[in-house]
Structures are given as structure tokens and as C-alpha cells.
């Protein structure tokens, strides 16, 4: 029955290669890399760098979605944490700034997790609360202004480089490895997939499903906080109105492109991040092509549809559709 096993990752890698090839056609210098002032430059680096916030968000989002939840508040959490980081940057050292911002993200995650796991609210409604309120909180922190800073430490976080690799990319890679190690190195991965696959059955098997759900929302909050700090560091300021705006949707999209079902269960961290990169490669390609950015949204929709169709083993041909129809019995 190998045909029922998803060809995991193949569709995503294929999509990425195709988009990269198109980008190469649109912009002949796309694969050029150069080293300048100890930092790599080039379109590819740009894709990775710009893709960092969504990649970080998708790391948290994929776990939330695996438990059959969703977190709409990550964009707002980015704004809150970016605002906190920017406000503290010039008066405190980097450790304090980071601790405060990540702590805030953790609290946001706890709040969401509390609503979903303890009060049993529907995830989409529960996180909508913070999605709306969070931006207000961020505006209160920045007092309605765009808070700028010049702390070289925080600026380095957004614009510096480690061995030529821009710091945001290094952070995202580090977080991918850390999350992977925690989730797959412990039993967390299995128990999250079980919870998302069948929460009732998992509960009866002795799985602490509430603790699982709480944990994934907390982690999602922390990832969003980190994304928020990086986004603020990148522009050396915090804009409560626009930081992370609509990025929750990109993060969800990245997870879905990465093959994790919104109905929970099986998930893949690497493929979610790959999904984020696909989105960013597309964005960058359209910018380079000189088409107006409005096209971005349309092209994105088409590519997403294509990737999803490619992934669906049952839709890989007309025969597949027929099989599907025959199987769809009440």
C-alpha cells in the first residue's frame, strides 16, 4: 500500500525548485552571492533573511496545528514583543531586552493555551482575542508612536552576521534545530500527534492532552516573540500598527504548504519551514520581476493551490478522483 503513504517533502522540494528556476529566469543574478564587510549578500540570502519571521512563526504554528488548533495571534504577539524590545533597547542590555520580549511572548502563549486547554474555547476564537487585543497592547507600549532605537546589540541581531551568515538566518536555523531536538528527542512529538489525531482516545490512553496543548501554544508565543524582536531589529524600530501584520496567515499557509493538515495529527517542522521559504521565494521573485506587488497575492494563491494538489495523493490524476468518488460512501 505504498501509494497511500504520502511522498513527504517531494511536492515541497519540487515546488521550491520550480519557483527558484522561475526566479532565475526573471532575474539572471538570482543565484549570485558575494561577501561584503564579512556578510553574504545576494538574492538567495535575501530570501532566507526576509523569510526568517514567517519561518520562526511556522515553527510554533506547526505544533499548534498538529494538536488540531490554530493561533491567529502570532502577528499581534510579534508587535507586542517588538515594541517591548524597542522600548527597552537603549536603556538596557541585550539579555534584559531579550528576556523581557521572550517572557512577554511566553505569557501570551500561556494565555492562549489557558483559553484553549483549560477553558476549552475553540482555538480560532480564543486566539482571535489576542489577535485583536494584542495590537492594542502594542500600541499602548509604544504610546502610539514608532519607537526607534540605536542600541548596536539589538541592531546586530537584525543586521549582523556570524561567519558571513546574517544573524536572523542563524537564529531561525538554531530554533529549527532546538525545536526539532526537543520535539523529536523527547516523546513530545508522538504525544502531540496523538493528541491532534484523536484527543479522546489519547486522553483515555493516559496522555496529558491539556498539558500538550498548553505547551504548544506557549512555544508558539515564544517563537512569535523572537520573530517580533528580529523584525524590530531589522528596521531599528517598532511599529505597533504594522509589525507582523497578516503574518499569522503566512505562517498558517507555510504549515499547510508543509503538508500538515489543519485537522491535526502528523506534522513536519522542516517542511513547515520549507513552506515559509517557498512563500518568501515567491515574494522575492515577484519583486525582482518588476511586476506590481499586487500580483504577488494572485501568484501566491496559484502556487499554493498547485502545491496542495501535488501533495494530495488522491488527486494525483483523474484516476485518483474516481477512486475518491467511489470511496466517499456515507
Amino acid at each position: 500500500m505504498t501509494e497511500l503513504l504520502p511522498r513527504r517533502g517531494l511536492a515541497q522540494i519540487l515546488a521550491l525548485i520550480v519557483i527558484l528556476a522561475v526566479d532565475r529566469v526573471v532575474s539572471p543574478q538570482f543565484f549570485d552571492l558575494r561577501l561584503q564587510d564579512g556578510r553574504l549578500f545576494g538574492s538567495l540570502i535575501d530570501v532566507l533573511n526576509r523569510g526568517t519571521p514567517v519561518a520562526l512563526l511556522s515553527l510554533g504554528m506547526v505544533l499548534v496545528i498538529a494538536t488540531r488548533g490554530i493561533d491567529l495571534s502570532v502577528g499581534a504577539v510579534m508587535a507586542i514583543c517588538g515594541a517591548i524590545a524597542a522600548s527597552l533597547a537603549d536603556s538596557h542590555g541585550l539579555p534584559v531586552v531579550l528576556a523581557a520580549a521572550l517572557g512577554a511572548g511566553l505569557i501570551c502563549g500561556l494565555w492562549n493555551g489557558f483559553l484553549v486547554a483549560v477553558l476549552g474555547m475553540q482555538p480560532i476564537v480564543a486566539t482571535l482575542i489576542l489577535m485583536v487585543a494584542g495590537r492594542g497592547i502594542a500600541q499602548l507600549i509604544t504610546e502610539g508612536r514608532i519607537v526607534t532605537f540605536s542600541s548596536p546589540d539589538l541592531v546586530w541581531l537584525g543586521n549582523g552576521a556570524i561567519l558571513g551568515v546574517p544573524v536572523p538566518i542563524a537564529i531561525a536555523l538554531g530554533m529549527l534545530i532546538l525545536t526539532g531536538a526537543v520535539v523529536r528527542g523527547s516523546a513530545l512529538g508522538l504525544l502531540i500527534e496523538a493528541t491532534g489525531g484523536n484527543a479522546r482516545a489519547s486522553e483515555l490512553a493516559g496522555v496529558g492532552t491539556r498539558a500538550m496543548i498548553l505547551a504548544v501554544y506557549v512555544w508558539c508565543g515564544v517563537c512569535a516573540a523572537l520573530a517580533g524582536v528580529i523584525a524590530a531589529a531589522d528596521i531599528m524600530g517598532a511599529d505597533a500598527n504594522n509589525a507582523g501584520l497578516w503574518l499569522e496567515l503566512d505562517a498558517i499557509l507555510a504549515v499547510v504548504i508543509g503538508g500538515t493538515s489543519l485537522f491535526g495529527g502528523r506534522f513536519s517542522l522542516v517542511l513547515a519551514v520549507l513552506g515559509a521559504l517557498i512563500i518568501q521565494t515567491m515574494n522575492t521573485g515577484i519583486l525582482l520581476s518588476g511586476y506590481p506587488p499586487e500580483f504577488n497575492l494572485l501568484v501566491k494563491a496559484v502556487v499554493v493551490l498547485a502545491v496542495l494538489l501535488l501533495q494530495s495523493p488522491k488527486l494525483s490524476g483523474f484516476a485518483g478522483i474516481m477512486v475518491r468518488l467511489r470511496r466517499t460512501k456515507p
Binding site: M1, L4, G185, S186, A187, L188, L190, L191, E193, A194, G197, N198, R200, A201, S202, E203, L204, A205, G206, V207, G208, G265, R266, K329, P330
Partner: protein
């Protein structure tokens, strides 16, 4: 009809209905006849095919064979809506109306009185009021339906159905969540409708109510028609026999004689354990190497007892002890920690995680018990999966296959493996052989015995009395959520169990007569 002397010609006639879901034959050539003005009880245990029959007749499921005649014409509804148009209305246990709309809106949904394209609220309310008054209900019809009790919601659903000119009214477990007084109201309405010539099909597992309200009874078992009888001339014991039993072979416990004298160590005990409105307080001792069977009709409190014992439901009184030490069972986690395992009746919704592999399903409980920080390595998981796939002969022997693709019997074995891997002291099995083909059936029973011989304590629920008699050392009989009798040793046989299930009701019948 050929018999012109028939006092009441059939209103609804169902002939030779068959329905399969994949390989499972849910209905096989079932006949059913409903006369105008009668209340006809449709009975059978879980999985007997009552719901499937209703859904096939009302067109929710397409039928494989057979015909349905309403009055003189043959009908073949394609959906519940077209059944309704033909005159067959169904009210399900879960009332399928809209709780956020008003009572009046619910009654006239889809057919509101209109003028110039605007709903005439006043007119609608007036008519709603009049309609419900017929049913003896005087309530504010402008209030949302959800504000009212389930009983009133039921009556509203019935009123709507009848007002839509239903000739046949199917009530699926209408009394399950009603209290005694509400049941009386509902029965009053049913009798009134029957007098108006409406044929009513009444599905229930409360036998007292069946005897109180119904004129005739049709019993299904395993998708086949067992028989149709006049209620008045059908003794309760006979009815229960029809619902549960094969021909009553006088099997006695094969284990009882051998094991009776052995004093066994108690591994878990429950004193006055119960929960209000769930199961009356009971005493239960579970011993190593002993199978305790729970017998009783559907809804008698068997599953409820199992869930309390395992910790899936919290007791509100009584004392639980494990190995003599007093314990609190607040959640399945507590049960698992104390070495209990529970294979629920609903394998698909409560048991397996369909998407995950056989291996992952098997290690799930053990991993949950060990905790997050002590993950089983992939090699350990493979080893455990391989051992149990071999030991229980799980087929196909592929531990990486998603468990949802396995047959019911093999899924059941995977669940057994899940608990055996935790080395439990007590295993609770709720209908372990339901929906399993004959071969796997025998295997599961053999496994139950082997596990028991290995020193495990087992609490097993089954509707198959022959089965319970075969493997149980003791049998607890439940009726109406009360543990009414405990049989052991030579006393365990199908006749005694049936007598215990029927006892109270028979007494009541005599008292009434």
C-alpha cells in the same frame, strides 16, 4: 393487501431491506410493518441495525435491496427531506433544530408565513402558539428554543413534524435524556397522535417504557429481524432473550468449576463507588487471575461502571483501593498510573489514533505512563511493536501501517497490545468482540483467558451472554444503572443472567396486571 380481513392495513411496509457498509452487512433482508394508529417499538442491542434501518427507510442511506411502501405507493426517499415530504418524519435523540432561533421560527422554518416578502412574525407566533397548545404546551414561542428543556425541544420537533403532515413519526431514543415527568408528557402526546391515526415507531432501550407505551414490538439482532410480537403477549424474559440471545444453550462457565475454590488476591476494590445520575453506588472486587463479566442491557450502566473503575469518569462517592491502598481515580492518567487499562467500546472514536502507525498506537499508553522525558527510543518502539504484532497475530504484520487501515479485529488487538505493553494489573474491556469477524472473535476470547491465566485481573463487558458465561469467574448483572446481582461458580449460566436482568420488570408487570 391480499388479506382483506386485516383489521388495520399497514401504513408503512418495509420488505427485504439490506444494507452493507463495505464488508459489514448492517441489515439483511429486514421486514418491518407499521399500522396506522399504533405505537411500534423497534428494539435491539447496540449494532443490531435499528439506526441503520431508520436511516435507510428515511433515505439518509441508500439501500442495497428491498422496498418501502407508504400506504399504497412505493416510496424511495433520497434524503431526510424527501422522506418528510412523503410523510415520514424522524425526531432523533439529539434534536436537530436550531437552538438559537425562537420556538416559532423553528416550527415554521422554511415555510414562514410571508407577506410582500416579509415574514409575518405575529402571524407565525400566533400559529405556533396554537400548534403547541394542541400538544398541551403553553410556552413563550418567541423565546429561543435553546432556553427550553430537552423535553420541550422534543415536543417542538414532534409538533413540527406532525404539522408537516407526517403520517409516520419515528422517534429515536426520545426519552434518553428526559426525567419521569417529561416522559409522561411525551407519552401523552404519543398516544394522542396515535389516536389521530399516525403510526409511531419508538426506538428505546428502556424496556419499562416499551411495555408502558407500545402496541407491538419488532426486535432486530445483528442486522437481522428476530421477530415481531404483540407487546401484551410477550413476556419480558422472552423479549430479552430475543434481543440478546442465540438459542439458549445451557452453557455453564468453563472456568467457574476449576477456579471456584481458589482464594485469590484482591488487586483492586471499590466500595460504595458511584456517581449520581450515572451509576448507583456499587461494591466490586477484582482479583488477580479472575475475569469478572458485566452483563445487562444497553444503558444498564455497564460502560458507566467501566469508566468509573478506570478513572475516565470521576466518582462522587465511595472508596477505591489498589492493592489495599486507598487511591483517587480522577482521570485516565490516574487509572494508567495505578496499572489499569481500558479498551473502550467505541474503538474508532475513543480507541485508536487512526492516522498513526500500529507501532505508535501500541506504544502510546506506555509512553504516556513513562512521561515526556523518558522517550522510548525508536529501537525500543520497534521491539515492543514487533513483540505484540507477533504475540497477538496482528495482520498484516506491518507495524508501520496506519492503524486506521486495519480491520476491526486487528484494531482491537492493537488496543489490547497498547495496554499489555504497560504491564497492567487490571484490564477493562468494553465489548471487546463487537464488530469483529468470527475468526478474530474466537481469538480475542482465547486471549482473554490466557491473559487471565497470566495473573491479570479482567473486567469484561459483553452483550453476548454465551461469551460472558464462557470466560467469566463471576458475573455482575446490571439493571437501570444499579448492580443488581452477582453470580459466581455454578450459578453462572445464561438463564440466571437473563432472569436477573428481567427480574424487576417481570415483578412490575405482574403488579400491574
Amino acid at each position: 393487501m391480499e388479506n382483506s380481513l386485516d383489521p388495520a392495513p399497514p401504513l408503512l411496509e418495509v420488505r427485504g431491506i439490506s444494507k452493507s457498509f463495505g464488508a459489514v452487512r448492517a441489515l439483511q433482508e429486514v421486514d418491518f410493518t407499521l399500522r396506522a394508529g399504533e405505537i411500534h417499538a423497534l428494539l435491539g442491542e447496540n449494532g443490531a441495525g435499528k439506526s441503520t434501518l431508520i436511516k435507510v427507510v428515511t433515505g439518509v442511506f441508500p439501500r442495497d435491496a428491498g422496498l418501502v411502501r407508504l400506504g399504497d405507493e412505493e416510496v424511495a426517499p433520497r434524503s431526510a427531506k424527501s422522506a418528510l415530504q412523503a410523510g415520514i418524519a424522524t425526531v432523533y435523540q439529539e434534536v436537530n433544530l436550531l437552538p438559537n432561533l425562537s420556538v416559532a421560527q423553528n416550527l415554521f422554518l422554511d415555510r414562514q408565513p410571508m407577506r410582500f416578502g416579509i415574514v409575518r412574525e405575529g402571524e407565525m407566533r400566533r400559529r405556533a402558539k396554537a400548534l403547541l397548545t394542541e400538544f398541551g404546551l403553553d410556552i413563550d414561542v418567541a423565546a429561543p428554543l435553546g432556553n427550553y428543556s430537552v423535553a420541550i425541544q422534543h415536543v417542538t420537533a414532534i409538533a413540527r413534524a406532525v404539522d408537516l403532515s407526517a403520517r409516520v413519526l419515528i422517534l429515536d431514543e426520545p426519552t434518553a435524556s428526559l426525567d419521569r415527568h417529561e416522559v409522561e408528557i411525551l407519552f401523552g402526546i404519543m398516544r394522542q397522535l396515535a389516536r389521530r391515526g399516525i403510526g409511531i415507531v419508538f426506538v428505546s432501550h428502556f424496556l419499562d417504557q416499551v411495555y408502558e407505551i407500545s402496541d407491538r414490538i419488532t426486535v432486530l439482532r445483528n442486522g437481522r429481524l428476530v421477530g415481531e410480537r404483540e407487546t401484551a403477549s410477550l413476556p419480558r424474559l422472552e423479549l430479552i432473550r430475543m434481543m440478546l440471545g442465540r438459542e439458549l444453550a445451557e452453557t455453564t462457565s468453563s472456568r467457574a468449576a476449576a477456579s471456584e475454590q481458589k482464594a485469590r488476591e484482591v488487586c483492586a476494590s471499590f466500595e460504595n463507588y458511584g456517581k449520581a445520575g450515572y451509576v448507583a453506588p456499587f461494591n466490586l472486587e477484582l482479583r488477580r487471575g479472575e475475569v469478572v463479566g458485566l452483563a445487562g442491557l444497553l444503558g444498564s450502566g455497564r460502560t458507566e461502571t467501566a469508566r468509573l473503575v478506570f478513572g475516565a469518569e470521576r466518582a462522587d462517592g465511595g472508596q477505591a483501593r489498589v492493592e489495599g491502598a486507598s487511591v483517587r481515580l480522577q482521570s485516565p492518567r490516574d487509572g494508567v498510573r495505578h496499572g489499569f487499562g481500558y479498551c473502550p467500546e467505541e474503538r474508532k472514536t475513543d480507541g485508536i489514533v487512526a492516522e498513526l502507525s500500529v507501532r505508535e498506537n501500541i506504544v502510546l499508553a506506555l509512553q504516556a505512563k513513562r512521561g515526556l522525558h523518558r522517550p522510548l527510543s525508536r529501537r525500543e518502539q520497534d521491539e515492543i511493536a514487533r513483540r505484540y504484532v507477533k504475540m497477538l497475530d496482528i495482520r498484516p504484520p506491518d507495524a508501520e501501517r496506519p492503524v486506521g487501515l486495519l480491520s476491526g479485529g486487528n484494531q482491537q488487538k492493537v488496543l489490547l497490545a497498547r495496554w499489555l505493553a504497560t504491564a497492567p494489573r487490571l484490564l477493562v474491556l468494553d465489548e471487546p468482540t463487537r464488530g469483529i469477524d468470527v475468526g478474530a472473535h474466537a481469538e480475542i476470547i482465547r486471549l482473554i483467558r490466557e491473559l487471565c491465566d497470566d495473573g491479570l485481573a479482567l473486567l469484561v463487558i459483553s452483550s453476548e451472554l454465551d461469551e460472558i458465561v464462557t470466560y467469566s469467574d463471576r458475573v455482575v448483572v446490571l439493571r437501570d444503572r444499579v448492580h443488581v446481582e452477582e453470580l459466581s461458580g455454578e450459578a453462572i449460566d445464561v438463564t440466571n443472567i437473563l432472569a436477573a436482568i428481567a427480574a424487576d420488570g417481570a415483578a412490575m408487570q405482574e403488579a400491574r396486571a
